[in-house]
Amino acid sequence: MFPEQLNVPLGKWVNQFVDWLVINYGAAFEAFADSLLTVLVALEQVLRGAPWWVVLIAIAAITWHASKNWKLAVGLVIAMFAIGTLGLWDKAMQTLALMIVATSLSVIIGVPVGIAMAMSNRLRAIMLPVLDTMQTMPSFVYLIPALMLFGLGKVPAILATVIYAAPPVIRLTDLGIRLVDQEVLEASRSFGASRKQILFGVQLPLALPNIMAGINQTTMMSISMVVIASMIGARGLGEQVLMGIQRLDVGAGMEAGIAIVLLAVVFDRIGQAYGKRSQRSHAEDV
């Protein structure tokens, strides 16, 4: 047995810290949660309110824009249609809204953090273990404080998703900027480009294929979080899976599972097409 005297009451400290946060900053967290919720609810209303065929046309249009490949566009429309035939259209739209908000938030936070990491080796040394922790820590662990701060529902679900899904876009932004050819950077500096001109004119455009790959991975990971997020009250496809587990209804679980996979496929193909486009943005001129 490990001597009890050496026990560190880390758990107690964390509890005290969270209590302190709730007492002192509860109002601030609530305001933040409200604004996030407003965005999410509005998006959800649009997606659920829109006729199903409008959504299908939108998917087709986005796919065409990304890939210029009508076969892919038709394929993805069929995948979305299949979700509807499983009777899960409304829930899929809820999940879609959750994903879009979580992914956008991940990108908004992740790209600047990735840029900062690429600029500073010290920040990078600090961030890498943090990112590892974010990805390996079981998500239930940070669901608990999120629940205490924000209550049950969509906001903690989004935050949990962001914590889990943001690391890839951060890592790949950092990597993409670091991989930019040194001689190209030197050339840019030798012409007297300022740091801002270098960042927006050279580093970000050249890192874009990697950043797009990061966004794609982030999207995939946020889809995989929807089941867990449903346990703290987020609606959508995950809810259906959870219900399947609780009622031992294999069929219902399977239906929801297939719908999640189809949604993931749609997002993955669109994301990849945009990634390829950013890699050879001038392919059409050849």
Partner: protein
């Protein structure tokens, strides 16, 4: 005072350059400092004066510090000790905005692997320097078009770098550097990555441009033939130290040490040596007046390889004239042969 003055530059790479600098100043060489302190000496007490309008070539093998040296001229690298000035202005004293303004207005640089922006087409690459300066689209594209045409790439404006051959990419690099009309052109092994034939073309092209533009060109190379062809003066670097500075003929005829001598051994002397350094000089009053009426006459800057053919054809002693048509020397067949054979 020369246009570009480099004074006692030391550059030491490593975590504590000051400590190693003491050793270098005390006379330790590159290898000694590396084994003692783990620091790499990039440049060891280099001083150079570069005149306005000359093509100054810095030659050395890899690791000699030549690329480090050229990067001191636009402060892509800052020295550990020493000073660099342009027209009397100390560039090491400049803060970031002043330095950027200096780079924008007065310098253009060409890189070994071209350093083109892969996501921009030829037009936007050539216009890049002007864009950084804040020139509006219309006038920068007008200037860029002019230079694109000048380097022979008219019609390729919309192509991207990866659609061009190496030689064409470097033409873009050259046009980009010239588009801002800089005073100084820095060329870091600009032609080293090109095929021999293309390289020779580009060298000729550069000489043609320079004959009109009279820029100050600092050209880095590891190829002595290239140095001799392009350079008005040549500096030879070895292990971060300056070994010799001089005109091409001085380097060939009077190598400073065995290291330079070893380089010059394989040089095509016929192409480098000129009449004035081969001829037997005439002292005023000692002119011979024997049947020189139909003797061949050449200028004092005629290359030895051209003298050979004249000498072979006529077999006579050749008269050498200076720019003002004064006879300054004579060359006979034996002198031609001995100049070639040394």
């Amino acid at each position: 005072m020369s246009y570009i003055e480099i004074r006692n530059i030391f550059k030491i790479f490593g975590p504590d350059p000051e400590g190693a600098l003491e050793l270098a100043r005390a006379g330790s060489d590159k290898d000694e400092i590396l084994t003692k302190t783990g620091h790499t000496v990039g440049l060891h007490d280099v001083s150079l004066s570069i005149e306005q309008g000359e093509t100054f070539v810095v030659m050395g093998l890899s690791g000699s510090g030549k690329s480090t040296l050229i990067r001191h001229l636009n402060r892509l690298i800052d020295p550990t000790a020493g000073s660099v000035s342009f027209g009397g202005e100390d560039i090491l004293a400049m803060d970031i905005p002043a330095l950027n303004a200096f780079r924008r207005k007065r310098l253009g640089m060409v890189f070994q692997r071209f350093g083109l922006l892969p996501h921009r087409n030829v037009m936007d690459n050539v216009a890049y320097g002007l864009e950084i300066q804040g020139t509006d689209r219309k006038s920068r594209e007008a200037a860029a078009s002019k230079w694109i045409e000048r380097v022979g790439l008219a019609g390729y404006e919309a192509k991207f770098p990866d659609q061009l051959s190496g030689g064409m990419q470097q033409r873009v690099g050259l046009a980009r550097a010239l588009a801002t009309d800089p005073e100084v052109l820095l060329m870091d092994e600009a032609f080293s990555a090109l095929d021999p034939l293309i390289r020779s073309d580009m060298q000729d092209e550069l000489m043609k441009l320079q004959a009109e533009l009279h820029k100050t060109i600092v050209f880095i190379t590891h190829d002595l033939d290239e140095a001799l062809k392009l350079g008005d003066r040549i500096a030879i670097l070895k292990d971060g130290k300056l070994v010799q500075v001089g005109r091409p003929e001085e380097i060939i005829l009077h190598p400073a040490d065995d290291y330079v001598q070893a380089f010059t051994r394989d040089v095509n002397r016929g192409r480098v040596l000129r009449a004035r350094s081969v001829m037997q000089r005439l002292t005023p009053g000692s002119e011979r007046s024997e049947d020189d009426s139909n003797a061949p006459v050449i200028r004092d800057d005629t290359r030895l390889e051209d003298i050979v053919s004249i000498s072979l054809k006529t077999g006579q002693t050749i008269s050498v004239m200076d720019r003002d048509d004064n006879r300054v020397g004579l060359i006979d067949r034996d002198q031609v042969i001995s100049a070639l054979s040394r």
